[in-house]
C-alpha cells in the first residue's frame, strides 16, 4: 500500500490545496497512491470529514499533524483527545522529548520530517545540541527538499539506525505524491491501522518525483 504521509490542505495557513482537488489530480495523473495523510501545521483538524471523497475517489484520506519543536518539525500520526490535552499544538517551540513522550503515551506515532533541512530539520539541531533519545523514525524523502537535504537525511538516518519514510510535503495540488511511503503487503484502513503499520516498521520511502522524461 502506497501512502503520501505528508500533505497540507487549505486548513494550513500556507496550504493552498483543496482536498477534493488532490483526489482529482491523483486520479487524473494516475498516480500510484492508495491515499494520503493531511498533516496540517500546528493543529489537528478534528472537524473535517472526507469519507465522501474516500468513497468517490477510492482513496484513503487520513488526518494527522505537523508540530514544531526545539529540534525542528515533527509529524504526529494518531492524534487523539489525550494527546491534544497534553500538547499545545500552536506552540512553535515544543520540547521534542515532550512531543515524543506524550505521543507514545497516547498511542500516537511521532517522527521528525525533513530532518536534513536547515533550522526546521532535526539533524541541523543534532550538529549543535547532540542527538535526541526516543527518535526512531524520520522522513528521508521530502517533496520540498532541495538537492543535498534528502541525501543528508538518508546518511544521518543510517548513522543513527532510524527507520525511514517519505512524504511530498505538498502545499499545492500538483505536488502531491512526489514522495510517498510503501507498506508492502499491508492493508491500512484507518489512522489506527497506519499507526500500527508504522509501529510495525515494515515500510520504506519512495520517490515519485517527475523526471524530465515524464
Amino acid at each position: 500500500m502506497l501512502l503520501d504521509l505528508h500533505t497540507h490542505s487549505v486548513k494550513s495557513d500556507d496550504g493552498r490545496a483543496k482536498v477534493e482537488n488532490y483526489c482529482k489530480w491523483i486520479r487524473k495523473k494516475e498516480l500510484p497512491l492508495d491515499g494520503f495523510v493531511l498533516t496540517e501545521h500546528r493543529q489537528y483538524d478534528a472537524e473535517s470529514d472526507y469519507r465522501h471523497l474516500e468513497d468517490e475517489y477510492g482513496l484513503l484520506i487520513l488526518k494527522a499533524s505537523e508540530v514544531e519543536t526545539d529540534f525542528g518539525h515533527v509529524l504526529v500520526f494518531g492524534v487523539n483527545d489525550e494527546l491534544q490535552a497534553a500538547l499545545d499544538f500552536r506552540d512553535v517551540r515544543l520540547p521534542i522529548e515532550h512531543v515524543l513522550y506524550q505521543s507514545h503515551k497516547a498511542g500516537a506515532f511521532a517522527a521528525p520530517c525533513h530532518p536534513g533541512r536547515k533550522r526546521v530539520g532535526l539533524f541541523s539541531h543534532y550538529q549543535e545540541k547532540g542527538h535526541v533519545e526516543g527518535v526512531h523514525t524520520v522522513e528521508v524523502l521530502n517533496g520540498g527538499s532541495i538537492p543535498g537535504e534528502d541525501e543528508l537525511s538518508i546518511e544521518m538516518a543510517a548513522k543513527y539506525g532510524y527507520k525511514t519514510f517519505g512524504g511530498s510535503d505538498s502545499h499545492v495540488v500538483s505536488r502531491v505524491g512526489f514522495c510517498a511511503t510503501d507498506f508492502p503487503a499491508q492493508d491500512i484502513q484507518d489512522i489506527d491501522g497506519l499507526v500500527n503499520a508504522l509501529e510495525g516498521g515494515n515500510f520504506n520511502a519512495v520517490s515519485l518525483r517527475p523526471t524530465k522524461e515524464d
Binding site: 483543496k18 482537488n21 495523473k29 502545499h171 499545492v172 500538483s174
Partner: protein, 138 residues
C-alpha cells in the same frame, strides 16, 4: 503545450509551459521604479545584506505580476479572477528562477479553471506558491 484560446482546450492536469523570467537588477529596478516600490532591499545587494538577506530580493508584487504574465502568455484571452500567493522563501535578484503552473480543477458551467502556481529559486527551493482562478469567455 500550445497557447490556450478556448475553455474547451483546457483540461485538468494540464501544465503551463515553464517560464524563466528576467529578474536582473536592471529589470527589478525598472519594476520598482514604475511601481513606486523603491526599497534598497530590492535594488541594492549590499543594502539587502545589511538587512540580513543573502542579496537583493525580488519584490513580492513583482513575483505575483510575473505569475500573472505567465498565465496570460499561456491563455491570452482569459480573465484572472483571483490570484493568491504564499511567499515561502526569498527569490534573489540576478538569479535564475523558474515559474511553473498546472490546471488543478475546471468548471464547465462557469468556464473557469483553477491553477497551481510556483516559483522555484536557483537552489531548487520553492520560493513562492500560489493558486489562481481564471475564466474564459468562450
Amino acid at each position: 503545450m500550445s497557447t490556450i484560446y478556448k475553455f474547451a482546450e483546457v483540461e485538468l492536469g494540464d501544465e503551463l509551459p515553464n517560464e524563466t523570467p528576467d529578474v536582473s537588477m536592471a529589470k527589478v529596478t525598472s519594476f520598482c521604479t514604475s511601481a513606486k516600490h523603491l526599497f534598497e532591499r530590492f535594488t541594492d545587494h549590499e543594502a539587502a545584506k545589511k538587512e540580513g538577506f543573502p542579496g537583493a530580493i525580488v519584490p513580492g508584487i513583482m513575483s505575483q505580476g510575473l505569475l500573472a504574465a505567465m498565465i496570460h502568455k499561456w491563455a491570452p484571452g482569459c480573465n484572472i479572477m483571483s490570484i493568491d500567493t504564499v511567499f515561502r522563501g526569498s527569490l534573489l535578484v540576478d538569479s535564475n528562477i523558474t515559474m511553473t503552473g498546472a490546471v488543478t480543477d475546471t468548471d464547465d458551467d462557469e468556464m473557469t479553471a483553477e491553477l497551481d502556481l510556483s516559483i522555484i529559486a536557483e537552489d531548487g527551493r520553492t520560493g513562492v506558491i500560489g493558486t489562481a482562478k481564471v475564466q474564459f469567455l468562450s
